[in-house]
């Protein structure tokens, strides 16, 4: 099982490589300002994700001004793990729907 914040980070990275501060901004946008992650917390999670091989470090894309910065990239293992986690969550949601805890999503 992956921690909720790590799921968020992985999801953000699935859209493209980001540096640390970029991850914070994306999470802010995505959650409409409710999840505001600070540096220490973010890098602890990045450290854990890197140790597990779900995230790789990479160079900045060419159009970036600051080429020194490290960009984080979703590894293929990370992509699989994220997919598996999402699958697990979908099954959970289905179960919740069948028990009447959630109204079934349309479409």
């Amino acid at each position: 099982m992956i921690k909720p914040l790590e799921v968020l980070i992985l999801t953000v990275l699935s859209a493209g490589d980001r540096h640390g501060y970029g991850i914070r901004q994306d999470i802010l946008d995505y959650t409409e300002g409710t999840v505001e992650i600070e540096a220490g917390n973010l890098y602890r999670h990045l450290r854990a994700l890197e140790d597990e091989g779900l995230v790789d470090e990479g160079r900045a894309p060419r159009h970036e001004t600051d080429e020194r910065r490290i960009y984080y990239r979703l590894s293929s293992a990370g992509r699989r793990a994220l997919a598996a986690e999402m699958h697990r969550l979908r099954e959970l949601v289905r179960l919740a729907e069948s028990r009447g805890i959630l109204a079934p999503a349309r479409g």
Binding site: H19, G20, Y21, R24, E38, A39, G40, N41, L42, Y43, R44, L46, R47, D66, R68, R69, I70
Partner: protein, 857 residues
Amino acid sequence: MRLIDFLVRLYPSEFRSRYATELRDFHRDRMLEPGVSMPRVILDHVHSAFGEHMQSLKQDIRFTLRGLARRPAFAAIVLATIALGVGANSAIFSVVHGILLRPLPYPDADRLVTFGHKAPQWLTGQNEYVAYKRDISSFASLSAFTQDEATLSGDEPERVAFASVTRDFFTTMGVSPAIGRAFAEDEDHVRPATVAILSHALWQRRFAGDRSVLGAKITINGYPRTVVGVMPPHFGYPSERTDVWLPMRRFVADSLEERGNYYLWIVGRLKPGVTMPRVSNEATTVAQRMMQDFPISYGTPLVPVIGELSVALLGQTRPYLWALLGAVGFVLLIVCVNVANLLLSRGEARRKEMALRTALGASRTRLATQLITECGVLAIGGGVLGLAVAWGLQRALVAVAPSSIPRLDQITLDWTVVLYTFAISLLAGLAFGLVPALRGARGAPADTLKEGGRTAHHGGSSRVRRALVVAEVALAVVMLSGAGMLLRSLINLQSAEMGFDSRRVLTARVSLAQVEYNQERTTAFYRELLTKVRAIPGVQSAGAAGWLPVVGRGGQWGVMAEGKSYPPSQGPSVVPQQVTPGYFQAMGMPIVSGRDFSDEDRAGGTNTVIISRSAARLLWPELPDVLGQRFQVGGQPSALMTVIGIVDDIRSRDFQDTPEPTMYVPHSQTHLTAYFMPVSLWLVVRTRGEPMLVANQIRSIVKSMSTTVPVSDVRTLEQVVGTSVENRRFSTGLIAAFASLALLLAGIGIFGVISYGVSERTFEIGVRMALGADRGQVLRLIVSDGTRMAVIGVLLGLVGAAGVARAIRSLLVDVPTIDVVTLLAVATLLPLVGIVASLLPARRAMAVSPTEALRGS
């Protein structure tokens, strides 16, 4: 930016080296946002840094546990060694804490003092007490008391210790009864006292803790008394055995007896802020004024002695307990050295692993942290096990400790002891971890890796290990010589002659009630009792006396030889003892000249007396033969007594006591010649076999004569005499046990180092044997190695032993500070241990086959 640099530094080095720049970049961007909450940013970093540290600690611990699990024997030995050392320390600390360090159970106990006089008065008289109480301003209150034993009647009559106390006794101590009340204003007029306060223990024992005991009547020494209060548990003054407190009659100025009768004990409470010198000065001034006002009453000067109550209660036990704590401290040191050695030898085995990890990029600090974590885990694990050891050891100690050690019931494993245990465990962990950690982090990885698979003789580390073993032997020498000197002191003490023969003698206290037994009935009772006791098969002789050596003492009475006159208050004084016929035989005290008492020495006949040699010299220094001479007890004129016999002097308190001049008055005449006849006597019965076997017969004889007479304190005379040295015997035994443990640990240490050395030197030994060395030479090589370490250790230890001897000087009896006998014994013993410890590895070395050894490399 300086802030972020500081925050980054909080993280563990590994995390820092990976993310420091990132964190700074992040921070720069973050600061551009509007409305940044700095506390939030700082808190996030602190929290994360802490989390990362815990994470790496968790990893290290997991790594350590895995490593230990791989080598269970190593882990077990280390943990057991630490547990033993820490456990012994905690157990002894719990004793020291319970007895010495914990405050006395009285509020502001540091303001409580005992008040007495220098010899020969020791105690205080009524007049003096009243004067001190009135004239010394330093005391908030000053209370007097006397102590004795009494018979508490009931279905099973019982002897109880009681204290008669002045009314302000409980306010002085600062403790009120837990239920009921203290003595009231009008209750100290009446004699005998009609009210009593019970101890918590007696209340539980006799009345099952029933509150209806308040107002109930109990019979003490034949008089009914109303119980008005029960003291809280642990209130044990003047003695832990005190079970009943009675009000002492108030001293009214007119009724004051003449001066010179010193029988009061005094305890006082100082006013806040009063120093000991100040109160002593005041007391001395009052005493000097009394001596000026009544010069005739004070032939010998009256010198007040004031001391802290805690010293009076615990002073005797204190040096033994500190010596014990010192001894276990040494054991712990040796344990540390042993464990350090074990870790070092394991460190050797892991040098390649460490070198590999360094080469793969693990930092030095990282590896050192890893080693320190390992020590921490071992220390805490050992501490937990040590606590279990302490728990068992402490219970065993309390169970076998002599009851004369004060406050035994205060000894518990409380939080202080637990904290102490973990503190010393961690301290020990630091001590035994330091050397291996420093060594482990040092050394170039390339060199180690280059050595390849061959275990070369690694000079540096081996030197450290040998030095540690030498230190261990030195510590053991110090402990053994200390223990040896204490043992010799104990032997010296016990070999001193008491002056009587304590083998095969039973003693017991028989207590008649004053109200039921007048002098005639008392005499008749004891005559009949002794006749019946002598008829028991196996009894050789039997007698009785007013007090028993070691247990009691007879006081000091002024006496006057017939026809002599003495300057006031400067006449001779002797210790009085009241005895029945048969007493001297039963005690094994031969009559040196003259005759023993018989039943003919009775009231109405000639008043007779037997005196000790020193009493004879004191009374008639000019006469070679004093038989037939007469003297009388001073003070009120009493009847003259004729000396009919002389006995040898005895020590009546302990083995170090100087015998005092003593007079033995026949019990049946005491009321005529020596003020009063004691109704309670100590039975002394000499048997042919085991004395305890006749105890029950004596009990049933007494019961058949009267159901109200309790028989108590049934012990052999050897046990009675033993109580005078039981504190010393107890602590000396413990110290000797700890010293043996130290010796064992030192032996194991030598064994470990030599045995490791042999496996290291297999190649060398193989070469030597291939070159023609025979087995004997190999044996000598190995054994001399072990012996050499022992000898160097002994030489160092002897220096330390001199220091320890100085520290325990006050406990030594007839043993010089540099005790050649003990030191020689220890100096021979340890090299022997060295030889034995290296024999086993040496056998292994002799079995080395040259071809195997050379090929194996």
